[in-house]
């Protein structure tokens, strides 16, 4: 599903975010990418959805060599990948419903299917009763659920979660983790970046440990 082959990412002023990193993730896996702040976790996720280009090495996602991918094919790749963030990245001037529908509208989903899809995902995440609420009227956990709804509504093959519990209390964090596990159980490959080793230990899933841009452990 995802292959990193000797991937390095060097930013300006010779700051190496990733150094010769190689790994392979199979379809349906749940993988934690962990390490301290600034280790290169977010860079790995960004490289997967081609938000950034590697300086060296090859990345393959769903059989496609990202380096060879043309610019106009990029939206197609991103429609197959859902991404959620620590800061949720919701549009503050739109309701919960509009935030989720936005992801469907920009990808030319037929209007008939939109409402059906929306109701399915909101029911699954127990958000139906708040569909007219604006992000600022929701708790952190609820906002993250909206962010997950937006990522899942397009049925992605891969879900990338960048510190999704970083801004949440322990109860909301547990809630989000359970949702991610369930999504993975249904067949979606989930890759979650976190610095919280307690979560990783508790979940007993594969872990890629990154330190100073190097992959130091794959267990």
């Amino acid at each position: 599903m995802i292959t990193f082959d000797k991937v390095s990412k060097i930013y300006q002023r010779d700051w190496t975010a990733l150094d010769d990193v190689s790994f392979h993730i199979d379809k349906g896996e749940f993988v934690f990418v962990c390490g301290p702040t600034g280790a290169g976790k977010t860079t790995i996720l960004r490289l997967i959805y081609k938000y950034e280009e590697p300086t060296k090495g090859t990345i393959k996602v769903m059989g496609e060599n990202l380096r060879l991918m043309k610019k106009k094919e990029l939206p197609k790749l991103r429609r197959k990948i859902g991404v959620i963030f620590q800061d949720f990245k919701l549009l503050q001037d739109r309701t919960l419903e509009e935030n989720v529908l936005f992801a469907l509208e920009v990808t030319d989903t037929p209007p008939k299917n939109m409402k059906k899809k929306l109701m399915e995902i909101l029911t699954y995440l127990r958000l139906s009763h708040k569909k007219y609420a604006f992000p600022y009227q929701l708790s952190g956990g609820e906002q993250q659920k909206v962010s997950i709804a937006r990522a899942l509504v397009r049925d992605p093959y891969i879900l990338l979660a960048d510190e999704p519990t970083g801004n949440l209390d322990s109860r909301s964090s547990q809630d989000i983790l359970e949702i991610l596990m369930d999504i993975n159980y249904k067949g979606t490959t989930v890759i979650m970046a976190t610095h919280n080793l307690n979560i990783v230990k508790k979940m007993k899933k594969r872990m890629l440990r990154i330190e100073n841009g190097k992959l130091v452990r794959d267990k």
Partner: protein, 282 residues
């Protein structure tokens, strides 16, 4: 469908982020107003020059027994002459009386009409200069029945020189103003787009194509530019009205200014938003 959603998104942004839109609209309107104002000055300058240019003519004073019809026929044959108008001595007196008005009594000192009959000779544009005037005037002087010709040879050249300098200065200033206006409008649009970088990032993340992302911003650019053009036109119409009532008649082709303001505004809006959004879509 992308166009429909794009336009809807554009309208949503205009209505929901109205303070940002209004601020941007204000800057665009003022910029376009300044541009229109300068264009108006330029148009009037050229209009005045054109009127002055059209007034350049040769006046040929005739002998008392001149054969006017034959003279007119012959003068019309001269290369560079477009029209010949006969002014009888009676008409010349009448014209002078009209011009003098209150001091008309001065003319009473003459027992009989002292003004001779004359021909006003209109010229092609390329002959409305010292050389052309002299050339045609010399030819007219050779004709029987012509007593004297007058034309402002040197004065015409001086006038042309002055108008050329003013025109060049005006065009230079106009170019600077056009570029300044484009710069201000582009920067304003860029700032409004920058304020919504999160929205663009989310659109990219969920797999929106570049054209899909660009549509709402381009639409907003067009609306902003066209509305700015309309406001600028209203301001220029008010300015012209006030100016006309204070100083003199101002040449103001309303329809051209109205259409021009909208088209220019919309054009700047499209180009500005396209250039600004392109930076985010790299």
């Amino acid at each position: 469908m992308a166009l429909r959603i794009g336009i809807r998104e554009g309208i949503r942004t205009i209505t929901r982020n109205n303070s940002l839109f209004l601020l941007s609209l204000l800057v665009t309107s003022i910029s376009l107003f300044l541009l229109s104002l300068f264009v108006l000055v330029t148009v009037n300058l050229y209009y005045a020059v054109k009127i002055l240019d059209e007034k350049i003519e040769i006046i040929a004073f005739l002998d008392d027994h001149a054969n006017v019809q034959r003279l007119m026929r012959n003068i019309r044959k001269i290369n560079g002459v477009t029209d010949v108008i006969f002014v009888s001595s009676e008409q010349a007196l009448k014209d002078l009386q009209n011009e003098l008005k209150e001091t008309e009594a001065v003319l009473n000192v003459f027992e009989k009409n002292p003004l001779p009959a004359s021909l006003r000779i209109k010229l092609e544009r390329s002959f409305r200069n010292r050389r052309g005037l002299t050339e045609i005037s010399n030819k007219i002087m050779l004709l029987q029945g012509v007593k004297e010709t007058i034309y402002g040879g040197e004065l015409v050249d001086q006038l042309k020189k002055i108008t050329n300098i003013i025109s060049a200065f005006d065009i230079g200033l106009l170019i600077i103003i056009i570029f300044s206006v484009i710069f201000v409008i582009f920067q304003t649009i860029k700032l409004t787009i920058f304020a919504r970088s999160t929205e663009i990032e989310i659109m990219r993340l969920v797999g929106a194509s570049n054209s899909f992302i660009a549509i709402p911003f381009t639409f907003e650019g067009v609306v902003q530019g066209a509305l700015g053009g309309i406001i600028a036109f209203i301001l220029i119409a008010i300015t012209t009205h006030i100016t006309t009532s204070i100083i003199s008649v101002v040449y103001f082709p309303k329809l051209y200014f109205f259409i021009g303001s909208i088209i220019f505004g919309a054009f700047f809006g499209i180009i500005g938003s396209s250039v600004a959004i392109r930076k985010f879509l790299k």
